[in-house]
Symmetry: C2
Subunit: 405 residues, 2 copies
Amino acid sequence: MNVLVQKFGGTSVAGAERIRAVAERVARNRAKGRGIVVVVSAMGHTTDELIALARSVASDPDPREMDLLLSTGETVSATLLAMALRDINCSAVSLTAAQAGIRTNRAFSRALITNIHTERLERELAAGKVAIVTGFQGITEDADITTLGRGGSDTTAVALACALHAERCEIYTDVEGIFTTDPRVVPEARCVSHIAYEEMLELAQQGARVMHPRAVELGQVYNMPIVVRSSFTEAPGTLIGPGDTVEIQQRVQGIAHDTDVAKISLAGVPDRPGIARSLFAPLAEAGVNVDVIVQTASFEGVTDMSFTVGRGDLDRAVKLVQPVAAEIKAAKLASAPDLAKVSIVGTGMLSQPGYAARMFAILADVGINIDMITTSDIRITCIISASQTEEAVNALHAAFELDQE
Amino acid sequence: MNVLVQKFGGTSVAGAERIRAVAERVARNRAKGRGIVVVVSAMGHTTDELIALARSVASDPDPREMDLLLSTGETVSATLLAMALRDINCSAVSLTAAQAGIRTNRAFSRALITNIHTERLERELAAGKVAIVTGFQGITEDADITTLGRGGSDTTAVALACALHAERCEIYTDVEGIFTTDPRVVPEARCVSHIAYEEMLELAQQGARVMHPRAVELGQVYNMPIVVRSSFTEAPGTLIGPGDTVEIQQRVQGIAHDTDVAKISLAGVPDRPGIARSLFAPLAEAGVNVDVIVQTASFEGVTDMSFTVGRGDLDRAVKLVQPVAAEIKAAKLASAPDLAKVSIVGTGMLSQPGYAARMFAILADVGINIDMITTSDIRITCIISASQTEEAVNALHAAFELDQE
C-alpha cells in the first residue's frame, strides 16, 4: 500500500473546529486509497502551559517527569483527531509513541530516535485505519517516555515516513510553504515550489522557523520527499527534495534572518594554542549556545576575536568570559546586544563565485554596515545592526530578484 | 519492607499549592521508613473538561479513544507530584498504569483489573523511591490504555495494596472519614473510628459517596485494611476492616440517603412467568440502571410492580416500558420523579430483629409516608418523598443515637 505521512502542527489542531477541519482533510486523502499516518503536535499553547504548571510545583522539574508530563499534550490531540475522524465515518486509531513503537535513547527532553518497531502501525494500516501518532515523543527500552525536544513532531513524521517507506511526508503548517524570505518583512516574498535539502537546512539553521533542521536532515539522509504546505488552504506547498535542479537554478534560493543576536568581542588576544578552548569551554559547560565565531588574522602575536550568542544568554556569557579575558590578558572586552543575522542561501552559489561580493555591495548601497561575516558552501551570513534587518532583507530580496520565478 | 499505599483524590491535588502540600505529607510518611506508593486522581475537574473536549469533536466519542484521552489527566497529576517531591529532596518517580503493570481486560471505560505485574514498582521501592501511580487506569495485553470507570482510583489503590501485600491502604479525601450520616444534613453526624467492610459496602451502594463500593469489595476479598482520612488535617480517619466487633456493636452504624430516585409503577400486571424479563430486558439493553424492584403478592392472577431508576433516566425508562405495558395488558402505568432512598446500615442488625419495625415507627412519628421498602441482611431501605429526606435522616440519626460513641 502507498503510505502518506501527514504532520499537523499545534496551530492546525488548536480547538475543536480546527480538529474537525483536519479530520475532513485527512478523510479526503484516505478516500483516495492511500494508507494514511497522521502525526500531531499538542494543541495550541498546551506545551507551554504544561511547562508553566511544572514550574509552579518545582523550581527545577526533573527531566524524566517533565517528558512524561509533556507527552500528555500530544495524546490529547491524537485521541481527539481519532474521535473526529470516526465521527465522520473514517476508521481511525490513535497511537502513543509507545504503541507506535518509536524507541529512543534515554536523553530526556532531547531524545534521539534509535529504532521504530512498525508492527502495530502496519497492522492498523492493513486494517484500513488512519493511524494517528503522537508527535515529539518516544519510549525507552525501560518503558520510560521521552520527548525529542521542540520541533520534534517534524522529526517524528519524517522518521515514520522513512520507516514505513512512505511515498512522501507532508508537513501541514500555518503558512503556504517555504518562502524566499519572511513575508512579514518582505511583502514580495514568494512561496517556492521546490527547494533542495541542503538549502532548507541552511535556511532553517539561519532563522527560518517553518521546518525543523533535524527533520530536514533526516529526510536528506533517507532521501524522503518532504512537502511543506498550509493546513488551511489547498495550495500545493513546497517540495523539499534532492537538489538535482542545482545546475539549472544557480541562484539565491532564500533569505533567512534572525534578530536574536548579541555579540561579545575580545581585542588583543594572545595568539597561542589553547586560547579558544579556555574561552569557549566554560560557555559550553554552562549551556550557552555560541553561534558565529570570527577570528581575525594574527598581527604582532595578538588577534581579535568575536562571537555571537542569543540575546537572553548575553549577560551570563559576559560573566563567564570576564575572568578568562583577565587571565589571558586580553586588551579589551566589549559586548553589543542588538544585532541580527542576515543570510542568503542557495546551492547555486556552490559553483558560482561572486555572490559574497554582490551581497556586500547591495548592503553597502543602502548604507548598512557589516559587523561580522561567515560563510558555508551554499550560504553567506552577515551580522548587522538589528534595526537595519528589514531594510537589508528587502534590499537583498529585490536585488537577487527572488520575487521572480 | 513495610509498604503503605496512599491515594489522593482530585480535590487533594487540585492546584500547585495542594500538590506541594500532598508532597510534604508523603515525604513525612516516607521519612518514617516505610515504602510509599501514592495513587493519584486527575486534578480537580480535569476529567470533566476532557470529556467536554471529546464531545466538542465527536457526537459519540469512541470508548477506546476516550480512555486514552482521559488517562492523560492522572499522568499530569502523577508527574507534578513526583516533581514536587523531588523539589523537597524526596526521591520519587511517577509510573503510568502501563509502567506500574496494571493489566486489565478490554472493557473500555469500565475495565476490570486482571493482574498486576509489580516488578517495576518493587524495583523503584527497593531503590528508596516513592512510586506515584496514575489511578483509574490500566493497560490491555495489546498495550491499549483503559480506564476503570468513575471512582476507579480507589480501586487502583486497594488493588496495588493487595498486590504489594501492603500494611494498609489509605484513601485521602476532602472529609475526615466515614460519618454516621451526611454531616451537611445532620450537624450531629459523627466520624466513626471503625466500620466493617459489609457496612461500608451497603452505605456506599446506598448513596454515601466517600468511598467507591468496588474498592471496598476488593479490600474485603483480600482482607486489606482501608483507612479513609482527610488530606487537609491530621485526624486519624476511619478504618474499614473485618467486622470482628459485630457482636459487641449490635447497632445501626450509619444512615445513607440518595435523592436521585424516580419510580415507575405498573398496576394489574398479569402474574405469569417471563413478565419481569419482558419488562426489564429492554431497560438493561438501553443501559438504564434499575435499582430497587418491588413486586406485591399476586391477587386474582394480577400483581403490582414498582421499580426505581435515576431521575435522569426516568423519561427514557417510561418510553421503553410503555409498549411492554400495553403488550402485557397492564392496567395502569404511573411514574413519580421526586423520591429519595433512606437506608439504615449495621452488621448488628444481622442477629437482632426489630430494626425494621423501629425504623418504620420513627418515620411514622414524624409523619413521613413510606412508598417502598427493601432490605438486605444488614440494611433496611425506605423510599420516601425527596422533600422529606432531611427530616427522615435527622429523625433516624437521633432515634438510633448515632451521635453517641
